[in-house]
């Protein structure tokens, strides 16, 4: 049980660190997926631990939402790449005061 949660924490930390330090939008995106899956792992672990299905149900929801998010997110990234010839998230910083 602890091992699963430890792995989940590790994956989440790697994902969060990746989001913060990487500039490439694709990589940032993959790190976000990593964080989602770390959360899924924790949910499933707790589900198993408590012997209830709620956590697994939530994990399925997360997967569905993540799939939809991937579709939208990749479309945005492709669109940005087409107009700016770059996938760096720091280049897309026009929305500021």
């Amino acid at each position: 049980m602890t091992e699963y949660l430890g792995l989940s924490m590790l994956l989440f930390t790697i994902g969060a660190a990746g989001v913060l330090v990487r500039r490439n939008a694709i990589v940032v995106f993959m790190c976000v997926e990593l964080m989602l899956n770390a959360a899924n792992l924790a949910l499933v672990s707790f589900s198993r631990r408590h012997g209830e299905l709620d956590g697994q149900l939530a994990a399925f929801f997360v997967m569905v939402v993540a799939a939809a998010e991937v579709v939208v997110g990749l479309a945005i990234i492709v669109s940005i790449y087409r107009t700016r010839r770059s996938t760096s998230v720091d280049d897309a910083s026009l929305l500021k005061a």
């Binding site: 969060a16 989001v19 913060l20 330090v21 500039r23 940032v28 998230v89 720091d90 897309a92 910083s93 026009l94 929305l95 500021k96 005061a97």
Partner: protein, 628 residues
């Protein structure tokens, strides 16, 4: 409604229609516009004469006809009808206004012949006449006020007619503003009537006066007097009249003879019921009249500008009328009598002065005239008729009217009587001075000036007015004017005179003769300098009179400068305190939003960092709470 006297509205409608027609018709009416204006005024006069005959044909106690045209407004308890009263008093005024007004119209055809805006000038003249007729025909103080303001507007437009001259524009504004001060008194008086009587109908106010407290009646009297002071150029609101000479000369004649300045006297006489009920208000009227008649006479003595000398004279003569109106029922009729005769001879002399200016290339300085008698004989003889009338030469109109006022003044109080007597002497002095400097003596004409007689269109009105100046006294025959006006202003009861009337008349003649002799000795026999002595060379009394007794300086010191200071103070307060608070608050929010806006860097990763930091802080806080 089939009575001819119910058609008094036609009197107003004719010149008003003339004014509207002239103002809206395009350039093609430039050629004949002045004839339309003159015809409108003349038609109004003819109609006035018809109505006058009809009125005179009625019984003496049936000579007041009030016609309600329509209800002007009806709000709550207050109902104001657009009603006209045609009675003995308004009938006289109608004839004076339209008669003299028409003559001035005719004269203006010649005088303004070369002015490109002559059509507009006639439109304003018509407007002036229409407004003045509304004023004297009104049966309600609010309708009267409508005419009152109309007169103010028309005078503003006409005084400033040559608006390209800054001095004319300023004079028009001055007249307008000073009239507003008087109007304030009128407005408050009307409000007082509404508050205490619930009506502004002149007849109903008159019947309601006995029910009012003394304080209110005196207040009404003083407020109406303030209004009268503004319109009639009485002290302390006299300063606009001399500046008003900036207007074309026919305008001065119209303002001084037929319209405008007579409105104040009319108001006081029309409000006789109020003044009869208040000793204090009457005393104030007498005081104002006396001060003005002496101040005006003093100013008239020192001015070298022929129009300004005449303007001082008008002030003085209106002072006589105001004084007479303040003497109560004994004086009302004589105030109106002097008003009418003054209307004749002052219009005559102003138009004569205009004729002189016309002949000398618009020069107004009497020191540049001299010996115009031979060059302009018609102007000279007509002017002489006016001159003899105003100084009170026996038999002429001014003699009868002024003599009656002086007599009544003596019946009221010896000192007031002596004041009017002195005024008569000074009048003789300044008018003789004007006459001698203009028409007699040696030529002092500027180079290139060739005085010539004016065209017939200008001299015919002069002749008519001169005849009226000479013959105006017939109105007193058999006490016609007092009997005629008695139903309106009340029966005159004769005061006990300190000396027999014939002695008074003789002493007036002696004083007048002394004034004439003094002026003749100073300006007739001796040579008049072509250049005026400077202020340093003349005595303090001449200097004061030249500067209009420092009326403008007093106004400046008492009103203009303090008001200017106040305005500057209020402006500074508005700028620094009110606007400062508003823009300070705006600045605060602007700076705060700029500071906060700097947090929005646009870098997604920094947002993510804030997000994670926030989540971590939240988790730490939850953890801390759980452990505790």
């Amino acid at each position: 409604m089939n009575d001819v006297l119910d058609t008094a509205w036609v009197l107003v409608a004719l010149p008003l229609a003339g004014a509207l027609l002239l103002l809206t018709w395009g350039k093609e009416s430039d050629r004949f516009g002045h004839w339309i204006g003159t015809a409108a005024s003349a038609a109004s006069f003819v109609w006035g004469a018809v109505l006058f005959v009809a009125l005179a044909g009625r019984d003496a106690d049936d000579r007041s006809v009030t016609t309600t045209l329509f209800t002007w407004f009806d709000v709550g308890r207050v109902r104001v009808d657009m009603a006209l009263t045609y009675d003995q008093l308004s009938a006289l005024f109608v004839l004076l206004i339209t008669g003299v007004g028409t003559l001035i119209h005719v004269y203006s055809i010649g005088y303004m012949a070369d002015d490109p805006r002559r059509r507009r000038f006639f439109a304003f003249l018509n407007l002036f006449v229409a407004a003045m007729l509304t004023l004297v025909l009104a049966a309600d103080y609010l309708v009267l006020f409508l005419g009152w303001e109309g007169v103010g507007l028309a005078s503003y437009l006409l005084i400033g007619f040559w608006q390209h001259k800054p001095s004319a524009a300023a004079a028009a504004q001055k007249a307008f503003v000073m009239n507003r001060v008087g109007d304030l008194g009128m407005v408050i008086a009307i409000a007082l009537m509404l508050a205490h009587l619930g009506t502004t109908d002149i007849a109903r106010v008159a019947t309601g006066v006995p029910a009012l407290s003394d304080g209110v009646v005196t207040g009404l009297g003083l407020l109406l007097l303030l209004g009268a002071c503004g319109k009639s150029a009485q002290v302390p609101l006299q300063a606009w009249l001399l500046d008003a000479m900036e207007g074309p000369t026919p305008v001065s004649a119209l303002i001084h003879a037929a319209t405008m300045v007579t409105a104040g006297v009319y108001l006081i006489v029309r409000s006789a019921a109020i003044y009869d009920a208040s000793e204090a208000a009457r005393l104030a009227v007498v005081a104002v009249g006396l001060v003005t008649l002496l101040a005006g006479a003093a100013i008239g003595c020192a001015k070298d500008d022929i129009k300004k000398a005449l303007a001082g004279s008008t002030m003085s003569q209106i002072g006589y009328m105001t004084l007479a109106a303040g003497l109560g029922p004994a004086g009302y009729a004589f105030a109106i009598f002097h008003l009418v005769t003054h209307g004749f001879f002052k219009a005559n002399m102003f138009l004569g002065a205009g004729s002189v200016m016309h002949g000398t290339g618009d020069d107004v300085d009497m020191r540049h005239y001299g010996a115009l008698r031979t060059a302009m004989p018609v102007t000279f003889f007509t002017f002489a008729a006016g001159y003899l009338a105003i100084i009170g030469f026996p038999g002429l109109s001014g003699f009868w009217s002024k003599d009656k006022i002086i007599e009544t003044a003596f019946g009221f109080n010896v000192w007031v009587g002596l004041g009017t007597l002195l005024g008569a002497g000074v009048t003789a002095f300044y008018m003789t001075r004007l006459m001698a400097m203009t028409f007699l003596g040696r030529k002092r004409w500027r180079e290139g000036v060739h005085p010539h007689e004016s065209p017939a269109v200008m001299t015919v009105p002069l002749v008519v007015l001169a005849a009226l100046s000479v013959l105006g006294g017939v109105m007193l025959l058999g006490h016609w004017i007092t009997d005629w006006l008695a139903p309106v202003v009340g029966e005159a009861h004769h005061e006990e005179l300190p000396v027999p009337a014939i002695v008074l008349t003789l002493s007036v003649l002696v004083v007048v003769a002394a004034g004439v002799a003094l002026a003749w000795a100073t300006y007739g026999r001796r040579e008049v300098a072509a250049d005026a002595p400077t202020d340093r060379e003349v005595g303090w009394w001449t200097r004061a009179a030249r500067h209009e007794l420092y009326g403008n300086a007093v106004n400046d010191a008492l009103v203009v400068r303090p008001t200017g200071q106040l305005v500057r103070g209020v402006t500074a307060f508005d700028k620094h305190v009110v606007a400062g608070a508003v823009s300070g608050l705006a600045g605060l929010f602007r700076d705060a939003s700029q500071g906060l806006g700097r947090l929005q860097t646009g870098f997604v990763r920094s947002y993510a960092l804030v997000l994670f930091g926030g989540a971590a802080a939240l988790a730490a806080a939850l953890l801390a709470v759980t452990i505790a």
